[in-house]
């Protein structure tokens, strides 16, 4: 079976309904996991408000790996960036040491740890929702009411106005 890997980065834009009258546009940057692309990824971290750091629950994990990703976030993104640790593939037989290590690490560092499964959809929505709510609570979202969103401000400029501003006529 061919292996499909992300080369560099992939970006998706989605609108997320935070509550009945509040919504937010998400720019989700999917980074390449391979070590050789780390240098490229770093250049795209600018402006990131929230990070999901994913670990495979079914595979062995070292504490150095977790620290390495945490260092990457703190060095290249922002120390105040909201972080949620994600344990993926929870539908598989979990590696107990990995689960224990992630649980201990997140407890010690007061981080949220969510176990997800893309195979059955478990906690996938909750993981993103939790991260977005954390960003909102930290005041970095700058949510505006949907009344403003729906009634988009239209500013009408006449041709003559543009000419005056450009001082071309």
């Amino acid at each position: 079976m061919p292996l499909i890997t992300i080369l560099g980065l992939d970006m998706r834009a989605k609108v997320f309904q935070l509550s009945e009258d509040r919504r937010v546009k998400l720019n989700i940057w999917d980074t390449a996991g391979q070590e050789k692309y780390r240098a490229i990824n770093k250049t795209y971290y600018f402006g990131t408000r929230g990070v999901l750091i994913c670990f495979d629950l079914s595979q062995p994990l070292e504490i150095e790996e977790i620290k390495s990703w945490m260092d990457e976030v703190q060095s290249y993104i922002n120390e105040e960036c909201c972080i949620v640790i994600i344990g993926t593939k929870s539908d598989k037989i979990p590696n107990k040491e990995t689960v224990d290590l992630l649980t201990k690490f997140t407890n010690e560092n007061k981080l949220e740890f969510i176990q997800t499964s893309s195979m059955d959809g478990t906690n996938v929505y909750s993981a993103f929702e939790s991260l977005i709510k954390k960003i909102d609570q930290s005041g970095k979202l700058g949510i505006e009411s949907s009344s403003l969103s729906t009634s988009k401000k239209l500013r009408r400029k006449k041709d003559s106005d543009i000419c005056v501003s450009r001082q071309c006529c």
């Binding site: 061919p2 890997t5 408000r49 993926t88 979202l141 006449k158």
Partner: protein, 67 residues
């Protein structure tokens, strides 16, 4: 020479919906792209539950096939 008034009007649309940038990090093969794909699908269709079939037909949207 006076410039005749133009019938052309331009509009500047300001969308005040806030934007937020999220980065998904992790080693290769942990399932970052699948996580995003499933999340996107749930956003588009909250009743969707055939995730297994989605992942089989999906995979990375951008990338190259390394055989």
């Amino acid at each position: 020479m006076s410039r005749s008034s133009s019938s052309f009007d331009s509009y500047i649309v300001e969308d005040p919906t806030p934007k937020v940038k999220l980065s998904i990090l992790g080693d290769t093969g942990v399932g970052k792209s699948c996580l995003i794909k499933v999340f996107e699908t749930i956003l588009e269709n909250p009743m969707f539950d055939a995730f297994q079939s989605l992942l089989k037909t999906g995979g990375g949207t951008i990338g190259r096939i390394n055989t």
